[in-house]
Homo-oligomer: 402 residues x 2
Amino acid sequence: MAMASAKLLTTVTCTAPINIAVIKYWGKRDEELILPINSSLSVTLHQDQLKTTTTATISKDFTEDRIWLNGQEEDVGQPRLQACLREIRRLARKRRSTGDGDSLPLSLSYKVHIASENNFPTAAGLASSAAGYACLAYTLARVYGVEDDLSEVARRGSGSACRSLYGGFVEWQMGEQADGKDSVARQVAPESHWPQLRVLVLVVSAEKKQMGSTVGMQTSVETSSLLKFRAESVVPSRMREMISCIQARDFPGFAELTMKDSNQFHATCLDTFPPISYLNDVSRRIVQLVHRFNACHGQTKVAYTFDAGPNAVIFTLEDTVAEFVAAVRHSFPPETNGDKFLKGLQLTPVLLSDTLKAALAMEPSPGGVQYIIATQVGPGPQILDDPHTHLLGPDGLPKPAA
Amino acid sequence: MAMASAKLLTTVTCTAPINIAVIKYWGKRDEELILPINSSLSVTLHQDQLKTTTTATISKDFTEDRIWLNGQEEDVGQPRLQACLREIRRLARKRRSTGDGDSLPLSLSYKVHIASENNFPTAAGLASSAAGYACLAYTLARVYGVEDDLSEVARRGSGSACRSLYGGFVEWQMGEQADGKDSVARQVAPESHWPQLRVLVLVVSAEKKQMGSTVGMQTSVETSSLLKFRAESVVPSRMREMISCIQARDFPGFAELTMKDSNQFHATCLDTFPPISYLNDVSRRIVQLVHRFNACHGQTKVAYTFDAGPNAVIFTLEDTVAEFVAAVRHSFPPETNGDKFLKGLQLTPVLLSDTLKAALAMEPSPGGVQYIIATQVGPGPQILDDPHTHLLGPDGLPKPAA
């Protein structure tokens, strides 16, 4: 914990990762506590490419809680943010009253200033709320000296945020209790477990704003009989199967189940009334590209998964990633030469074989994929010790953008 | 039955309608007998707009069975066609042996020539096999003097063909017997039952050939757990609900269930592995257009349904059809001025209100809908008495195209 001189204020800055579900979360059994209708499982992406950074400062001089997202002050009164703040202060109070914490130097009644920003554009369509609320929970815990499990704090902000509290492969156990105390995230395997795994985010331009996932899943729970069946009768065995594929580093098994679960999630969206369609024609071409790529190789070397938007997230192994990027470039020739098509991890370009080109047999769709972010599995939230990384200055206000 | 002089040959010409399922058939429990995993229900479209015409001739002079489709000779040996011919001849033999038919003037061993054509382009993407096999079964039955239920004959050609044997509203009861004898079509209500009902076929240009429904449903049965659940646990109650909506002429009830069942069918396609997507971005815009149109009116005035392709079939009532056509024209401005955008039933054009235009709030997609066929509920197969309508000449060969 970084401490300003004379203890006038305490400032902590942390980062947290994005996670991509391979067994999808869709639907709450409790809207207030954000308890899911099924367990889910995700892969934590590396923060070298994609992360949220959050600074929290508490001071006796602050007259109210305030928050800035990507430099813009936002309403601190919004219910989910309030739930997180309430929950972390409750844990801090509990800790103090049971006497198992160090005596806290600053009062719990001090107001907090929070600033948070992503190192990726909102336009990338990546669900940033999971990383954002995980980072908030993690940062506030350091400020307030809380060492409990933070699943509930993060979950109250955004359900899937609890999965961003750990690196590697993470399950969110749905739990059974009405109070949600057993609805927690736990690490299935650390980021070092499967070093060959690679992740590509294929950013697709969406024609319009998609339906938000909060409203979407609520409508699905109310109207889709297929979603209820999926949650009760399909997901439990898929969770077990996915965990054993990950433990065995069985890529074809992991990949097939990832694709099937993504498809089934989107199937339940379509079964919602009115129906929800997050996939567009470009998404569907990516699906086709992956299946043809795998068919040509005679084995499952690449998997796709889609969340509440048209962007694809691709899983593959180190030995295949460059070839698949070439296949994407072949099928979706970049329209602009200015901006880089491939961002993130550097890859040695390879040429597509004529066999593969013929097997893909697709009419090229120029510009269908705007760009690719290449990344890998990464660790959980991190504390940044360097005060230069703070997003809030000594006055408790956002530093001017550099 | 039209009889040529000297009984050298018997020629019969019939027409049969297309049907559009509102409770969808997808998946067989017996591939050979074409027995479905669930019951289905359809609306028979009027033959003034869409029909198949088939002529069958038998003669002792013919040396082999032959068939011409849309003027092109096809392989008569293909298994489904053979199954129909075998089945109709079996029924004819049974009839003769039990002595309850007139004595047949011509031998059952005589070979048959068949010619069939549609009055709509294949490019319209309308599943023509149902009308085709219904017409074949109906025509052969007249030639051979068969008066039994023709469900099995038609079904062996194409499952949903049995629903084209009747006009109005038709259910195909899945049946329980292993031999399929109780898997039959029956009329729920005649075409005169709901005279206000209107049907629009919105022809959407498909970018590529879709996966055929035979292979598609086979893959779905093998891989989709949602399809199994739908067939067993969702469809039975939907059949009852749909029948009572039709009997009560409850348009909002009929329309909502039609949309939900179409969506659920496409959801099970997406849950198939590899996934099947018949809907494209234009289809999805039509879905959105219908929901916005209904929302603006504060009631369900229009319904969509989609089969194994991107074309939409729209149900609405007489008092709304012209306004909805205007909404389609507004959202999908015709690209060509040459060909008619609206074919079939004539409608008095109406102007869209500004309120409705604002409610639709869609970026226009020029050319997304190629054209519309306006039609209504119609009768079952018909016999044509006029010999001029025969597609085969006195020589048993296709007449030259006029």
